[in-house]
Symmetry: C2
C-alpha cells in the first residue's frame, strides 16, 4: 500500500517516466545536456551578455550552487518555496539548491558587509517546476543577473538596468520586444482605492499578473470566485490595471498623468510616490534613447522582495515563422517564450539577513535559456563547434611522427591545429573531416615533399593547394588565415 | 534522545559549526564565494584553459549538475561513493550531484550513441569530503576536463592529453611540475608477481598510492597490519613499486627496460603489455617535446574505471615562499597542493551504460581550484575587476542629464564607460573612484566647456588633462586607449 501511495505521488508530481527496476539512460526531468552545437551557440550568446555587462562597468562574483536552507527560506513566497530542491540530510548542514541568484547575492552582501557593488553573475539555478522544454522552460537553467547595490540617487540605477536590457536584446536580434514597467507602490495604491485589503496583496497580484495572457473576464472571475473580491472591487480594479489597454493611444507619461488626474487614485500617497518615481525614470530613459519601455499597470511580478520599480521584457513574436512555432506542444499558445528578462528594486532583502545593514538594490535577470531557445529557432547557420585552424594530414602511410613534428611546430606558434589520431588515415577521410568541421586549412605532408623541405597547404573551401617551404609555413599560414 | 543522537552524528561528520536555533550567515561547509578579485583571477585562469583546449581541437559540452542516482552508483569505488551528495526525495526521480565530469560524459556518450568526440567541459563537481580550504580543497570545486573518445591508434590520444597538461601548466607559470605516469597493467603485473590476489587490487592500490607522501615503512606496515599481506609479499612489491626511487639515475625508458629485464616481472604478460604501451607513449612525448613526464610505478590512482595508462601532475613546490606556505594549517605538510591534473584511459565506462556500445576513452581533468590557490598565492599584482575604459564625471552640480547624454554617446560607440549614479557627486570622490578602479580615462564635463563644445579628457595615472572637442571625443578616446 505504501508503494502504491508513493507511485501515485510520483505520478502526480510528473516525474514518473521511468519504470521501476529498469535503468533508463536519461538526464533528470526538466534538464538537458548541451551538445557541441548548442554549447557553441550558448557560448556566443553568453559572450554578448558578458560584453554588455562589462560595458556598463560591472564586476563579477560567484556563489555556491547550494545555500544553507535557512538562507532561502521565506524569500520566494508560498509558490516559489515549494519549488526549491533540497539536498538530503546526510549529516551536517541542511542545504538547498539556489532558486535564483538574487537571494544568494543579498546573502553575500550581508555576510561580507558590502554596501556598494555593481556586479553580474551568470550561473544555473534550480526550480522543481513543470518543465516546457520546447519553450526553454527547464528545471535547471541559466540566469544572467546584473545588480546595482548601494545608496544612489533616484532611478539612476534603474535606468542602467533598463539600458542593459534594451542594449542586449537589441544586440541579440531576437525580434521585436517590449519592457513592461510598473511600480509596487502603484499596485498598492490601485488596490487600496479599489477597497482591497493589503493582506490580499500577493494573491491579487498573482491574478492581475495573468492579464498578459488571459482575458480580463477570466481574471475577474478568478478574483471573485477564488479570492472572494466583490464585483464592485474588481470593477474598480479593472479600470485601473487595464488603464493602458483602455487608453492605448496614450504614451507612458500621458498614461501616468491621466491616472494621476483620477480623483481618488490621484490622492493616494502610495500611488503618487510610485508615479512620481516612474516619471523620473521615464525621463532618464528618454535621454538614454531607450524607447522599448512601456508603462503597464497590470505588471505584478510574483516575488515578494520587490519594493519599487519592477520591469519585465517580453518578446511576444520571437518564434514567429520558426520551426519551434509549429512544434506540437506550443499549439494554441502565443508565439513567444514569456519573459526574457525581469527585475526591479528590492531595498529590504539584504536587511533580512542583517538587521543593521541597509543596502538598497535593484537589478535585472535575463532568462537566458529562453533567449537560447529563440536564438536556436532563428539561427540561420550553425556556429562552428571547434576553433581549429589547421588540420595536419598525410598522403602516405607511416607518417605519424612527421605529422606530430609539424603539429608541434604549429602549436608552438600558437596556431590551433589537430591531426588524425590514427597511424595510417585515408586521405579522403582526412579531407572530409576538415570539410565537415569547417577547418579552413589543411597542411598535407608527403615523403618526397618533406625531403625537398616543402608541404602542401590546402584551402579547404576552394580546394586550392600550393607548395609552401617548411621554413616559411607558419608565416604563410598566419597570412592566409588573416586573409580569409 | 533522538535529537542527541542527531547532534552527535552531526558532530561526527564535522558539519556542526552552527548553533541550533541561531541563524548563522555563512556558505555551506567546504564551499566559498568568489568575490570580484577572485573571480577576475579565476576567469583569467579559465581563459587560458579554454584557449589551450581550443588549440588542441576540442568541442565543448555541458551536462546537468545532478544526474539520476543510478548513473553515478558503483562508479567511484567504495570510498568515492560515500562522498556523493544526494538530493532529497521530493517525489519523482532520485538524483545526486555529480562527483566528477567523467561519468556524466560517459552517460552522455551512451545516451546519444556517440562513438567519436574530443570534448572539454568546465564545471563544478561536488564531494562531501573533509575540506582543506587553504590548499584549495573544497566540497564544491571546478573541474576542467579534456577527453578523447573514439577508436584511435595506440597512445596517440594519451600523447594529446599529456601535451595539454604540459602546455597549460607551463603557460600558467605555477613553477616546477612533474607528470607521473603509470599503467594499470603494470600495477596488475607487479601485484601478480608479488603474489597478491587480484581481489586485493583496489585496496593495495590505495596503500601504494600513498608513497608520494608517506615513507615506505609506514605503507608496508599498513599493508601487513590492515590488509594482511605477508612480509614476503610486501618486500617483493616494495622493490617494484619503488623502482624509480631505488634507481633514481635512470630515465623513463631505462627504468622500463630494467624492469622488463627482471626475470619474473619481465615474463608477466600484463606487465609486458603495459610496458610496451608506455614505451610507445614515451616515444611520442619525446617527439612532442614533453619533458616533464616521469614513469612512476607507484602511481596507483583510486578510481575504478581506469584500464590503461594513468597520469597525475604534481607541483610539489608551487607554494614555496608564498604566504600560503606559512599559513597555520599547512604547517608540517609539503609545500604543494597535491595533484593539479590527473587522468588516464577508461575503455569500459561507456560500456557500463550501454552494453552494445564500445567507446574507448582517455582524458585528463585539471584540479583547477588548486591551480587558483597557487595563482592566488603567487600573484604579484591584482587583476582588474572591471573593464571600464572611461568614467564620465562632472565638476558642477545638476549635470546628470549632460553626463547621461555623453555616456550614451560613448556606449553607442562601444566604449566601456560608467558615470557616478548620484545627482551631485563630489569631484574628488569621482577622481578617487577612477583611480581605485584603475579606470584609465576620465571625461570631465563642465557647464562652460559644454557651451563651447568641449570636454576635459583626463589620464588617470598621469593626471594630465586636455581639452577635447565633443565631435572628436570618441576618436580621441579610441586613440588614447590604443596608445596606453
Amino acid at each position: 500500500e505504501r508503494v502504491n501511495k508513493m507511485l501515485e505521488k510520483k505520478k502526480e508530481l510528473g516525474g514518473g517516466e521511468e519504470k521501476p527496476g529498469k535503468f533508463v539512460l536519461k538526464t533528470g526531468k526538466g534538464t538537458r545536456d548541451y551538445g557541441p552545437a548548442q554549447s557553441a551557440l550558448r557560448n556566443s550568446v553568453l559572450q554578448n551578455v558578458v560584453e554588455t555587462f562589462n560595458k556598463y562597468g560591472a564586476e563579477t562574483i560567484d556563489t555556491p550552487v547550494f545555500e544553507l536552507r535557512d538562507v532561502l527560506m521565506g524569500k520566494y513566497g508560498e509558490e516559489g518555496g515549494k519549488l526549491v530542491y533540497d539536498l538530503q540530510d546526510q549529516g551536517g548542514e541542511l542545504l538547498s539548491l539556489r532558486y535564483d541568484l538574487t537571494v544568494p547575492f543579498a546573502r553575500y552582501l550581508a555576510m561580507n558587509k558590502i554596501t556598494n557593488i555593481t556586479r553580474y553573475q551568470i550561473a544555473k539555478v534550480y526550480r522543481r517546476d513543470q518543465p516546457v522544454m520546447s519553450r526553454g522552460r527547464y528545471r535547471e537553467f541559466y540566469q544572467c543577473d546584473f545588480d546595482i547595490a548601494g545608496q544612489y540617487d533616484l532611478m539612476l540605477p534603474e535606468a542602467e538596468c533598463l539600458g542593459i536590457v534594451n542594449e542586449l536584446l537589441t544586440k541579440l536580434e531576437i525580434g521585436e520586444f517590449f519592457i513592461n514597467l510598473n511600480h509596487r507602490l502603484i499596485l498598492e495604491g490601485m488596490f487600496a482605492v479599489s477597497g482591497i485589503s493589503p493582506k490580499d496583496f500577493k494573491t491579487i497580484c498573482s491574478s492581475v499578473d495573468k492579464l498578459d495572457k488571459t482575458p480580463w473576464a477570466e481574471v475577474e472571475e478568478e478574483m471573485i470566485k477564488e479570492k472572494f473580491l466583490t464585483k464592485e472591487q474588481t470593477s474598480k480594479l479593472g479600470e485601473l490595471v487595464r488603464f493602458r489597454e483602455l487608453n492605448s493611444n496614450l504614451n507612458n507619461l500621458e498614461l501616468l498623468e491621466k491616472m494621476s488626474a483620477l480623483p481618488e487614485l490621484g490622492q493616494n500617497e502610495k500611488f503618487k510616490k510610485g508615479a512620481e518615481e516612474l516619471k523620473v525614470l521615464i525621463g532618464y530613459l528618454e535621454v538614454d534613447g531607450v524607447t522599448t519601455v512601456r508603462y503597464e499597470p497590470s505588471l505584478a511580478r510574483g516575488l515578494d522582495y520587490y519594493t519599487g520599480a519592477i520591469y519585465e521584457a517580453v518578446a511576444p513574436k520571437a518564434l514567429e515563422g520558426t520551426a519551434a512555432e509549429k512544434a506540437e506542444d506550443t499549439a494554441g499558445q502565443p508565439v513567444g517564450v514569456g519573459s526574457v528578462a525581469a527585475g526591479g528594486r528590492y531595498d529590504g532583502l539584504v536587511n533580512m539577513f542583517d538587521s543593521k545593514l541597509k543596502v538598497p538594490c535593484c537589478g535585472v535577470s535575463f532568462g537566458i535559456e529562453r533567449l537560447f531557445a529563440i536564438m536556436e529557432a532563428r539561427q540561420k547557420s550553425a556556429v562552428r563547434t571547434t576553433q581549429t585552424e589547421v588540420y595536419v594530414a598525410s598522403a602516405q602511410k607511416n607518417m605519424v611522427i612527421e605529422r606530430k613534428k609539424l603539429l608541434r611546430t604549429l602549436r608552438a606558434a600558437g596556431i590551433k591545429s589537430e591531426m588524425p589520431l590514427k597511424a595510417n588515415p585515408k586521405l579522403l577521410t582526412q579531407f572530409q573531416y576538415a570539410e565537415e568541421r569547417r577547418i579552413p586549412l589543411v597542411v598535407l605532408i608527403g615523403e618526397r615533399e618533406l625531403q625537398e623541405g616543402i608541404v602542401k597547404l590546402r584551402n579547404v573551401v576552394s580546394r586550392e593547394e600550393k607548395d609552401v617551404p617548411l621554413d616559411s609555413l607558419v608565416s604563410t599560414i598566419r597570412d592566409t588565415l588573416a586573409a580569409l
